[in-house]
């Protein structure tokens, strides 16, 4: 199965670590090698970066995962040019499909690179969304499935996590940001689907803790963060929504996200492109 994710967030928000944790392997080098802007340039180069991983789940199902990363996002003094780089990329993948669909002779080796979900990393500030987040999310709305995520959830006490989730959700709604809302149909879906989707909806924004370090704890290998005051297993679902997020992305909602992208978001883009 092919699946494409984009991970958007500012430097240091934990994107690379999240990608490695998601895939259970070192996909991205800890990005401490990003060069700093030279003294006389106001704008640092913001470029997209792609990684490809082959994953296999417990039942032997193989997933060919493409991940688009955004090192340098929001790093400049003036970040207004960052947004187009992201949206142009997303639209370009739609344009490629549009073009391919209109060909008389199809290209048998055509690669569908449409992004099925954007994992949007939000820093918890205690003040809701920052302006750069609002502006980027507005431009992503209606273009791609948005999954808002609070990074570094281990820097938050339980009350701070609840407060930040509440403030961010309020801002998302206030600014009309259309995040993926795990749609279900009370009439046609079974109880389990309805329950699962309404539960997932209630968690938004998802809290995430990531780690590049694996520890041996009582004979088991555990990906975690070791502090002088305690140890955190990133797969402990009481401490973050990481496992829930990974499961929905790679198992339970992978096909839903692809279908929504193709049947709703791409269709909308196609209609506007062909009529406009």
């Amino acid at each position: 199965i092919q699946f494409t994710l984009m991970v958007v967030g500012q430097s240091g928000s934990g994107r690379s670590t999240f990608i490695n944790s998601l895939c259970g392997q070192q996909v991205v080098e800890p990005s401490s090698t990003i060069p700093l802007a030279t003294d006389d340039s106001v704008e640092r180069d913001f470029r997209l970066r792609e990684e490809n991983v082959e994953l296999e789940d417990n039942e032997g199902v193989k997933i060919s995962l493409s991940i688009i990363d955004t090192p340098g996002f929001g790093d400049s003094l003036d970040n207004s040019s960052n947004f187009n780089i992201v949206t142009d990329y997303l639209k370009h993948q739609y344009d490629e499909v549009l073009l391919e669909e209109s060909r008389v002779r199809r290209n048998p080796r055509f690669k569908d690179s449409r992004v099925h979900a954007v994992i949007y990393f939000i820093n918890a500030t205690g003040h809701g969304l920052k302006e750069i987040d609002v502006e980027m999310l507005k431009r992503l709305t209606g273009l791609v499935n948005i999954i808002p995520v609070i990074s570094k959830a281990d820097a938050l006490t339980r009350e701070e996590l609840a407060l930040n989730k509440k403030l961010i959700l309020e801002d998302l709604k206030h600014y009309g940001i259309e995040y993926y809302y795990f749609p279900y149909d009370l009439e046609t879906d079974d109880n389990e689907t309805v329950d699962t989707n309404s539960y997932l909806r209630s968690l938004i924004p998802f809290s995430v803790i990531g780690s590049n370090q694996v520890f041996e704890v009582e004979g088991e290998l555990i990906r975690g963060r070791k502090y002088p005051w305690g140890f955190i297993n990133i797969e402990d679902h009481e401490l973050s929504d990481f496992v829930i997020l990974r499961n929905l992305l790679l198992i339970s909602h992978l096909q839903d996200l692809k279908d929504y992208t193709h049947e709703i978001l791409y269709e909308k883009y196609r209609t506007e492109a062909l009529s406009g």
Copy 2:
């Protein structure tokens, strides 16, 4: 004694919490009430805010502390106008003293509002300094005592803390940022002064953990952060440099910072201003 600090850092970096922790009392409201930019404005208002606190140390010495806070710093899409607001304020206080010094009839109620140190809050990203930090720090260099601080040190494992200190220090030196370097004279200062100052110099940037919550632990009131995986006492000097920083600011180096401001930094400003 009168002492003026400025705390510079982006929203959510923990400035208000640090100020409250430093003063041992609620000086600043947790700033979750900062309004978000309206949809059509690209620039949010960045304004300085002043708080005044009366502190008394163990020996009954009273300190009249002024704190200039920077809510909204770095919050806009384009932050290049933020820097002037900060530097204009600092220069204005020097101008006021310059003016007062040149008066024939002194104003007996003249209030010297020069800033004796800027506590500069740096977010630990694993990639050294961000562009906004480099640009602001360059403009503060030679104008005011700079004390670089890593905020939220409890979000860092011990290795991450060491790495971030190293990367930030390298960037500070690379960009020629003149932070307060705890000067000592091997010839005239006693051993203790030399040892203390070289030790403090070795800690830069200082790591800080702040908290607005006080807990009762075995009959004692402890300011700390309570996580499901452990409890952090912000005054535990093994976990952060908070206590060391507080002591140098309010006790051991208060007068040094004032003297350096008046005898070196203000003198330099005065010379440049009077010579043209």
